[in-house]
């Protein structure tokens, strides 16, 4: 049954391949960079006026040719690789960290722990997050130590040799539980509630009293990850003038630079951040992650240091979308006009503040929906829990509250026997409507969008 001929052919082919390549082996031949010499430009790019054109993207061409250099595609002479040890335990006091065994591992060039970082805290509104936890671990993805080694595998192998003694602390996973007075205080504050927002407009109680029907419903949403296809990555290079250059997948470099300079106690002009192209952000790459760590590892080793998140790092240690608990109470007239609405939002803020305050603020303002509501009361709370931190993500709380207010709307429409499109048109903002914060709105096109989307859908003709 053995196909002798086939096997022989294969061997011959291999041999000939080897022979041909022997000639090439000595001088290293640079790889061919294959791109067409002359590609035209789409007409839309050449047109004036420029606005409104379906202009093609020069960067899009590079992506398609595989020529775009993302951070992980960059290699510098002498570059080594860093990996981060994750706590793997959600809430604990760190009693000791021993990196001595790890340092003896083959290929390891340096280690770093939190206490070696000049200012080991950062965050866009509250600086409550350590770069590497040195005192308390507050979620399982918290970094506790870093290793730089010649190869990624050596760095990974060394992580296993880091010894950390923990003293477990109580976990608080549920934001509603975390709000309670007797809940364990994750940041030693008076309360786990670290941000509150309120909106009051009109008189809600009177509005409910004037309503024909009152509807109440609680909605919840889940924790979601951004999943950019490119995991977080950065390369740090410390130079002889005490300047550090960071190639990073950061989406906001100017503010990132300030954070990095602050943690490293460097003047801002000694930090350079280059972001090239980010392989997907969605809010997840708006904060520094490992940049100061690799800057310090580069300083320690005198080499460029690269750190690329594994997909697991990406999930457990980067920010995520806030889970929300949303209690809605709405008073309606029998004709379907919203008379009053009361909303209570509890936002699971995870282990650190990150962008929670912003998220809470937007969610709070938007929670009434694009509808005229004269009597409104919204209370919103961001709460610490011992889970992966939540932060900026496409929509800052808006997808959560929109799910709630629009589901609620259809519930009420069904009860009142009003068609879903009609009830929306009846309550939607008009030109000059006052927003929940009293802002006079201009260029309002809620109705236009409702009519366009439903017309395209074939809403009225649609049959089950």
């Amino acid at each position: 049954m053995v196909d002798e001929v086939k096997v022989a052919e294969k061997t011959e082919k291999l041999e000939s391949l080897r022979k041909i390549d022997d000639n090439l082996r000595l001088p290293s031949v640079p790889e061919r960079i294959a791109f067409p010499k002359e590609i035209g430009v789409s007409a839309a790019r050449m047109q004036t006026p420029a606005v409104g054109q379906r202009a093609t993207r020069p960067d899009g061409r590079m992506h398609g040719l595989g020529q775009t250099k993302y951070i992980d595609d960059m290699f510098f002479p002498g570059m080594i690789h860093a990996k981060i040890k994750r706590a793997g335990i959600a809430h604990a006091k760190i009693k000791s960290i021993d990196v001595s065994e790890a340092e003896k591992m083959p290929g390891v060039m340096a280690t770093l722990i939190g206490s070696e970082i000049p200012v080991n805290s950062f965050g866009p509104s509250l600086q409550d997050q350590p770069l590497l936890a040195d005192d308390v671990v507050r979620h399982a993805g918290d970094g506790v130590a870093a290793v730089a080694a010649v190869t990624e595998q050596q760095a990974l192998d060394a992580l296993d040799k880091i010894k950390i003694e923990y003293e477990e602390l109580p976990n608080v996973f549920d934001p509603v539980e975390a709000m309670k007075e007797n809940a364990y205080k994750i940041h030693n504050n008076e309360s786990n509630v670290y941000a509150t927002k309120t909106i009051m407009k009109g008189d809600v109680e009177k509005g409910f009293a004037d309503s024909n029907f009152i509807f109440e419903r609680t909605f919840t949403t889940q924790m979601v990850e951004h999943v950019p296809m490119e995991p977080h990555a950065s390369i740090g290079q410390w130079d002889a003038n005490g300047r550090v250059t960071l190639h990073s997948s950061l989406g906001r470099i100017t503010l990132g630079r300030a954070d990095i300079a602050r943690t490293l106690e460097l003047p801002i002009n000694r930090v350079r951040v280059i972001a090239t192209i980010v392989g997907g952000n969605f809010g997840g790459k708006n904060e520094i992650t490992t940049e100061p760590i690799i800057a310090l590892l580069s300083k320690k080793t005198g080499r460029p240091v690269k750190c690329v998140f594994t997909r697991e790092d990406e999930f457990i240690s980067s920010t995520t979308r806030h889970p929300f608990v949303m209690e809605y109470k709405t008073g309606m007239s029998k004709e379907g006009k919203i008379m009053a609405r009361k909303v209570r939002l509890i936002c699971d803020g995870g282990a650190y503040c990150s962008w929670s305050e912003t998220t809470l603020g937007k969610a709070c303002i938007l929670s009434a929906g694009p509808y005229n509501i004269e009597n409104l009361h919204v209370d919103a709370y961001a709460v610490y829990t011992t889970k992966t931190m939540t932060g900026a993500m496409r929509g800052f709380g808006a997808p959560q509250v929109c799910f709630a207010y629009e589901s609620h709307m259809d519930d009420m429409a069904a009860e009142l026997g009003i068609e879903p499109l009609e009830i929306r048109l009846q309550n939607a903002f008009n030109e000059g409507s006052a927003s929940p914060t009293g802002q006079v709105l201009e260029a309002v096109v809620v109705r236009d969008s409702l009519e366009m989307a439903t017309e395209r859908f074939g809403w009225k003709e649609w049959q089950r």
Binding site: A50, F219, T220, I253, V278, G361, Q439
Partner: protein
Amino acid sequence: MIRRGKGVGCMWYPIGFTVAANPSAATVKVNEDGTATLLTGTVETGQGSLTVLAQIAAEELGVSTDDIHVVSADTDTTPMDTGAIASRTTYVTGNAIKLAAENAKKILFEVAAPLLDVQPNQLEAVDRKIQVQYFPQRCLPIADVALQAQFVMGRPPIGSASYNPPTVGMDPETGQGKPFSTYVYATQCAEVEVDDETGEVDVIYMSAAHDCGTAINPMLVEGQIEGGISMGIGFALQEEMLFDDKGRQLNPNLTNYIMPTSLDMPEIDVDIVENFDPTGPFGAKGVGEPTAVPTAAAICNAIFDAVGVRITSLPATAEKVLRAIKEKNNSEQKFIPAAE
């Protein structure tokens, strides 16, 4: 049995940060051949912002998109920018760029005016020319003016500017204030098929009508909307980070964290609602985030329409939908009077 339903979700969304300053700065350098280089500190994260920003600079200078080269994302060489966040790039950075280009153009107009025998404020930049308003026959190629400015007049046409959206702080007690400069509006409609034996939800069609002010590049706006919908579908039906009782994530990988694949995407029709915001660059606002906002609402409303169950906790997994259907059936049976 497969049951079909339709649902609608409507939303509003602000552009830029809540009250807090979120400025952008930009520099536009017109080269001596009439092309230009744009310096911006924003980062291209995939949305096509660099192309849109080039279009804004080009429009202001009266040249084509291809005449603009964009340099971005390097703190040593590019000016301050708050970054690719809060759907702010087209509006805030775009405004800064428009102002910067305006400043560069001002130099060109001042140089061209005596050559064309008019005042600078009588000029406009159109089709790579600097021409007299209402008398376009009198014109000079922008290249000639730029060359003249740089080498004869010694005034390189470079303009810099910054922009920060105007807001009014919110009252801490009542939240009253003007937290944002502007808002966008959108509606999405979903058609779903629900298998009432398994709870599986198949989104088969979505229409989306989004306001973004002027669409600087409609093709890229469509791309944002379609992408936002996919993220919205994941949020509505599939995605969830799950933890064990010790707080460790159970599904930290793309095998078990379920996000939409090409097979999970419906047919999508996108419409851009015509609108013009006088405060935005050429009437533009933004579109990035809002695209992911109303999708889950539309889908859950369509599920409600199809099988009569209200999903109150996302994601609306097949398991949850089936459980809700069973609960509904059970409670309906309970209410059937014994006599019947």
